[in-house]
């Protein structure tokens, strides 16, 4: 594998999961949002969203706070500094990999993914 492709294995798996990635993306642009908004925008079920938010909160990426707007109680979520940094790192790494891939596809660079030679008939197979 080339160095760029190897970077995929270094991606933050906590953020890489699609539902959590959606939560991070939503909170990244909005600043802060409540549970109901995230649930509707992301198309999550209540239990699903709770589970993912708990994981992000445990990692210190998301802060969850009970607030009152007037007399209405709201569960407001926002990205922490650590969460923003982790997301920026994730996005940069992913972008680098994808840009490299696109450049290789368009022929801008020569050293792309290595071509795996077909197995020769006489060589014994390692697998079961």
């Amino acid at each position: 594998m080339t160095q760029r492709i190897q970077e995929i294995s270094q991606l933050d798996r906590l953020i890489h999961e699609p539902a959590r990635l959606a939560i991070m993306l939503l909170l990244g642009g909005v600043g802060e949002a409540d549970f109901l908004y995230l649930q509707r925008e992301g198309g999550f079920t209540q239990g699903n969203l709770s589970g993912h938010l708990a994981k992000l909160e445990e990692a210190g990426y998301v802060a969850i706070e009970k607030k009152f707007k007037g007399k209405v109680p709201l569960t407001v979520c926002s990205l922490t500094g650590k969460g923003k940094a982790a997301f920026a790192q994730y996005a940069n790494r992913m972008l680098r990999v994808l840009q490299h891939r696109l450049a290789w596809q368009s022929g801008a660079i020569d050293s792309g993914p290595p071509v795996i030679p077909p197995a020769s008939p006489g060589v014994p197979h390692d697998g079961p």
Partner: protein
């Protein structure tokens, strides 16, 4: 068949800023403010001796200051009762960027689209206010002022908000433009003429806000729809 994938996806920040307008309350509140302070200004012009007449500007100016100074808080109060329990809370967008002046002076491009920023005050509130300020030094106001001012106001509001989070529809702007032509056939008292654009814009914004609010409330009844289901 139209290819939707070509259309640029709005960023989370843009979606959040457009969420501010989803219930029609910003238009409704500003429209009502125009009507209330426009009516107060008219009352002043009718009942107060001529030398004091220009003080109607003070009354209407107070209304604009109220919208610019306390508008977010008034809207937040209303939204906490109508919108947040139904479709959720999002941090209100910034009305003015702190770096706005510097950005304009340095001719830098617009801020990143990921920012949760709206320009409702700049693109709508100020445009309407300026349309009111223009005829103040002319007494009496020329007969052609209202028929000319309304199309100009309509085009300005449509063009400035065209790429914003909450664009006005072309036919809605056309209605606003056509209201000015009414004054060509109907005899309007000279006292009312300078305030007419303000009052017409107030009716227009209130009507739009009201329609949007009714649609929003009908589409999102309280308590909210079952979990995970989009309405």
């Amino acid at each position: 068949m139209k290819d939707d994938s070509v259309r640029p996806m709005p960023s989370p920040g843009q979606r959040a800023a457009s969420y501010w307008f989803v219930d029609g309350l910003p238009d409704l509140v500003f429209g009502l403010m125009l009507l209330i302070f426009g009516a107060l200004g008219l009352w002043w012009r009718i009942h107060v001796p001529k030398p004091w007449m220009k003080f109607d500007l003070l009354l209407i100016g107070t209304g604009f200051c109220l919208v610019l100074w306390k508008g977010h808080e008034i809207l937040d109060f209303l939204k906490s009762r109508l919108t947040y329990p139904r479709t959720g809370y999002v941090q209100p967008p910034e009305e003015f960027e702190r770096t706005d002046v510097l950005t304009t002076l340095s001719l830098k491009p617009e801020p990143p689209v990921s920012q949760n920023v709206t320009h409702f005050a700049k693109r709508t509130v100020w445009v309407v206010f300026l349309s009111f300020l223009i005829p103040l030094n002319q007494d009496p106001v020329p007969r052609w002022f209202v028929p000319l001012a309304m199309p100009v106001l309509a085009v300005a509001l449509y063009a400035l908000n065209r790429n914003a989070e909450r664009p006005y529809r072309w036919w809605s702007a056309l209605i606003l433009a056509l209201t000015g032509l009414v004054s060509l056939w109907v005899e309007i008292p000279p006292l009312l003429q300078p305030l007419l654009p303000l009052l017409l814009a107030g009716v227009w914004l209130t009507a739009q806000g009201l329609v949007t609010l009714v649609r929003y409330l009908r589409a999102n009844p309280y308590p909210p729809a079952p979990e995970g289901v989009r309405t």
